[in-house]
């Protein structure tokens, strides 16, 4: 377990892409997780799902490719790959809840050591709640990977003994990829898989968690 430099967003995305099994059906959440698509190796056979109703989503559309009828979950224009399929919303979420997606990658405000996820609402009184497909994805995909910085801007840890923000799903996260470490989380707590630019002792002290 080396402790070199911390990871950039692209480093984290590349690490997640490496851990996605060949031929997986994958949903990448809005925001940072979309970077994972840029790091999937050619021939990975990964099929991207977008919850607004498509399998076989291609890269962002540019120039003449832009089509108002073809957007991703972030409402940005995208392209279709050969073999793509379109379906309506009830089908799109049926395949999600029904356990047909292998992996989804989501951002988070907080993840607990047992795999609870909080990523839809800060709970601030003036915040407008908006959940989209986050709760369906969290409990539906076979594996949920979280991509985030390990510490908030104020320095507080985002991997926590118990989430204080409103929950998105219970015990649904399997792995957490961050700038300074990768963890496995679940019923037995958090287990450290890799370290970047921080020592194990320093990390454990900052998190206040038993790291297995």
């Amino acid at each position: 377990m080396s402790a070199g430099a911390t990871r950039t967003k692209d480093d984290i995305a590349a690490a997640i892409a490496r851990d996605i099994p060949t031929g997986s059906y994958v949903n990448l959440g809005i925001g940072q997780p979309t970077l994972v698509a840029d790091h999937l190796r050619p021939g990975s056979g990964v099929v991207l799902h977008t919850e607004n109703g498509m399998l076989g989503m291609g890269p962002a559309a540019v120039g003449h490719e832009v089509d108002a009828d073809l957007i991703n979950a972030g409402k940005l224009p995208v392209t279709e790959l050969p073999g793509a399929a379109y379906f309506h919303q009830a089908d799109s979420f049926a395949m999600m809840r029904g356990g047909h997606l292998d992996v989804c990658v989501l951002g988070a405000f907080q993840v607990s050591a047992s795999g609870d996820l909080a990523n839809w609402h800060t709970g601030a009184p003036d915040a407008i709640p908006a959940v989209g497909g986050a709760m369906d994805l969290a409990i539906g995909a076979k594996q949920v990977f979280v991509m985030m910085t390990l510490f908030a801007k104020d320095g507080s840890p985002k991997l926590v003994p118990a989430c204080t923000y409103p929950l998105t799903g219970l015990g649904c996260v399997s792995r957490v990829y961050t700038d300074v470490a990768t963890f496995e989380v679940g019923p037995h707590g958090a287990r450290l898989l890799a370290l970047f630019g921080i020592t194990r002792v320093e990390l454990a002290a900052r998190l206040g968690l038993d790291l297995g």
Binding site: T50, G53, H88, F93, A134, M135
Partner: protein, 221 residues
């Protein structure tokens, strides 16, 4: 409404009879599949005190955002109101002039599917253990927690499709399909704006997505 599909000459005819206080299902995910011409006609028609069920709560100044800006909507039921361009809704919400019910996107779709399919409710794992399940019945089934979700029926659905035939059979295009099929089935009256209207027999029955039985009015817009 049952029986034959009405092909309307103008959008005003397509939105006739929508009453104050109606529940209106409005298609679209962002602007993809949003029936802007029908919403504009509804604004002209004047119905108010509406409950609108839609994925979002309007983008920019057009479509659903324009309906909200006119003060015609009492309550929005949606999954994702807050967006970079949802300033019309944000202002109404922050000043207490609109009610909001947030529903997970898949649950929103399934509640309308249930309505259209005659299902009185269903147990859904989404949201179990979260604030969105508060006050709802929870059932343990095979060791997993499920939330009882009830159907959402619309008085009217306003949706957009790519092509219709005169029997009301619909074909959509790419991700603009989104909520169209479930909303058409969940509303007492389904109104569809299409880019193209063709004669009966000109759509291959194998590719019909929404069969005409669910559709009441069609207008080219």
């Amino acid at each position: 409404m049952s029986g034959a599909v009405t092909v309307c000459d103008v959008t005003a005819q397509a939105v006739e009879g929508i009453t104050d206080g109606a529940t209106v299902l409005i298609g679209g995910f962002g602007m993809a599949g949003m029936p802007v011409a029908l919403i504009d006609a509804l604004i002209e028609q004047g119905a108010t005190d509406l409950t609108v069920v839609s994925n979002n709560a309007g983008n920019g100044e057009t479509g659903l955002a324009a309906l909200l800006a006119r003060g015609r909507v009492r309550k929005v039921v949606c999954s994702y109101p807050r967006q970079v361009d949802s300033w019309v809704f944000d202002d109404l919400y922050r000043t207490g002039r609109i009610e909001l019910e947030v529903v997970p996107q898949g649950t929103l779709a399934e509640r309308m599917r249930a309505a259209g399919a005659g299902i009185g409710g269903f147990f859904c794992p989404t949201g179990a253990g979260t604030p969105l399940a508060e006050g709802k019945e929870i059932r343990e089934i095979d060791g997993r927690s499920y939330v009882l979700e009830l159907p959402i029926h619309g008085d009217v659905a306003l949706i957009s499709a790519h092509r219709a035939d005169r029997a009301g059979n619909l074909v959509y295009r790419k991700t603009a399909r989104n909520f169209g099929p479930v909303m058409a089935s969940a509303a007492a009256t389904a109104v569809v704006q299409v880019r193209e209207l063709v004669e009966v027999g000109e759509i291959d029955p194998e590719i019909v997505v929404t069969p005409g039985i669910y559709v009441d009015r069609v207008v080219v817009a």
